[in-house]
């Protein structure tokens, strides 16, 4: 326990020192504030509260941004230490391999939690200051956004760590991390859309679509945020989809947790076999 705390604390401190935490927090806050003020104009008649508008905008943004931030945080964790020659000394200490992986994971999650809560929280506070205290449903949607953002980040931190223990060079790890981001955040959705159009409803059942969406953590995150609450659903145009595809919240959370746990376990197993 002490070792996990020390390793995680080191990651968080490094993140604070090299301004990662600051940069990510500012970026998220700036985008969240911009969306909160600019994006609230065209709400019209759909019956969504200002905070729900922010949730929809931020969720769409998070799908692209958080996986990228998480991968950038984590891809270097092991392979970078190995290249700088600091890994040998770390492993020669009283640590076990899984503690190194888990400690770094926890530290990087802490960075994401700080950045997300502060960054997105700023927007929530700003909206509340302007439009009054949000109702319970909107607040719930916002809390879900922050929670699921951290979960989404966790899944991609775990994937980044897996990359970091699998490859031998930083460059390779950076390339692989970027590749993962492209696949999960961009290409997968395009491919799925193409498939839906080409199929024209002949083979694609709602069940299959649901499964395909749950395969990708980024899509699971989207479903979780955009279909979970009525106001948000109406606003995001996901109402039609939500009628057909509606995995329960526990299922979606479990999917995100599995996307975190499996790569993390994989990274631990690979790292345990590695001979520095």
């Amino acid at each position: 326990m002490r070792i996990l705390r020390v390793l995680a604390g080191r990651e968080l401190r490094d993140g604070l020192r090299n301004r990662w935490v600051l940069a990510v927090t500012l970026l998220l806050a700036a985008l969240a504030l911009a969306l909160a003020f600019v994006g609230s104009a065209p709400v019209g008649q759909v019956g969504a509260t200002p905070l729900e508008v922010v949730v929809v905008s931020l969720a769409s943004l998070s799908i692209l941004l958080l996986p990228l931030i998480a991968l950038l945080l984590s891809f270097d964790a092991i392979v970078g230490e190995s290249e700088r020659g600091t890994l040998l000394l770390l492993l020669a200490g009283p640590v076990l391999r899984w503690q190194v992986v888990l400690g770094k994971f926890l530290g990087q999650i802490a960075i994401l939690v700080v950045a997300t809560v502060l960054g997105y929280g700023t927007a929530a506070v700003a909206v509340a200051a302007r439009s009054g205290t949000p109702d319970a449903e909107a607040a719930g949607a916002f809390a879900t956004l922050i929670g699921s953002s951290v979960l989404l980040g966790a899944a991609f931190v775990a994937l980044g760590l897996l990359v970091s223990v699998l490859v031998r060079e930083r460059q390779t790890a950076a390339g692989a991390a970027l590749g993962l981001w492209l696949v999960f955040a961009v290409i997968y959705d395009l491919a799925l859309l193409g498939l839906l159009v080409a199929d024209a409803g002949r083979h694609m059942t709602p069940g299959l679509l649901e499964a395909l969406l749950l395969v990708n953590p980024a899509d699971t995150f989207r479903l979780l945020n955009l279909t979970g609450f009525a106001g948000v659903q109406a606003l995001s145009g996901m109402a039609g989809l939500a009628g057909e595809v509606s995995p329960s919240i526990p299922v979606m959370v479990s999917v995100l947790l599995a996307w975190t746990a499996l790569p993390l376990i994989g990274a631990t197993l690979v790292f345990a076999r590695r001979e520095p």
């Binding site: 002490r2 070792i3 020390v6 390793l7 604390g9 080191r10 490094d14 020192r17 090299n18 700088r84 020659g85 600091t86 040998l88 000394l89 492993l91 020669a92 200490g93 009283p94 640590v95 076990l96 503690q99 001979e275 520095p276």
Partner: protein, 305 residues
Amino acid sequence: MAHPVELQGAAKRYGALTALEASSLSLVAGEVLALVGHNGAGKTTLMKLILGLIRPSAGTVRVFGADPAGREGGAIRKRIGFLPESVGFAGAMTGAEVLRFFLALRGEPAVSAGPLLERVGLAHAAGRRVSTYSKGMRQRLGLAQALIGRPAVLLLDEPTTGLDPTLRQTFYDIVADLRGEGCAVLLSSHALAELEHRADRVAILERGRLVAHGRLAELRRAAGLPVRIRVTLPNAAAPIAGLRGLGAEPVGAGMMELRVTNGAKIEMLGRLAGLRPMIEDIEVLPPSLDEVYARLRNGGGEVEP
């Protein structure tokens, strides 16, 4: 009593490459064992085996009676201090921060950082970023890190390579202190000559093979190199026929040299004493450690302690 570190027939192969052939060695409490060999001879491999960072392909490695690559690894490594050959630290941290991190990792109080830095002569640079440190300063910091928590086993991989003589002396002084406290020290070097009076035992590795292992005196005997006896003649006189008869060769003006086996040394000295009026001085030169090393590396002698 079992020794803190025991290797029995431990070998390490990477595919077709043999990093270490079956080797049996022990580290004894209160003793310094020097591991001598060229780069790639298997010195670092041996240390990694003791640390449990790699697993032996054959044989066993026992540290404090347990497998260092097993579940006990963390607890075992807590009692081992290690200084790697090229020690790397996160450059953005200060020396004191680096040390506090390793202290925390080992569950030692952060206040120990001061005395440790003092001990390795780095107190003045404690607040400077490690990226500004010289090679010698990084090495000092590495040593400070290895001394955390009074280790029972200390592994130093080429600790003095590239260090100036003063710093080298500091290193050996600290090693001597630890040895006095009962620490089992393993230090590697590629120069045997440096280890005279500093190592209790020496193990010579050549391309992954343990070619010799024993006390320095034993290694000297095992090498079977001749002792040189240098005779100085008075007044730079011409070489003497009587000495020539014993097999002496002139070496420079007024000096002759004999080479005899260690066993024949005393007898030869007796015969030389008989020639006393013609001789001014006699010097006995044992084979240098560099010569012993070169001979043993080439398979000169097998010694088991």
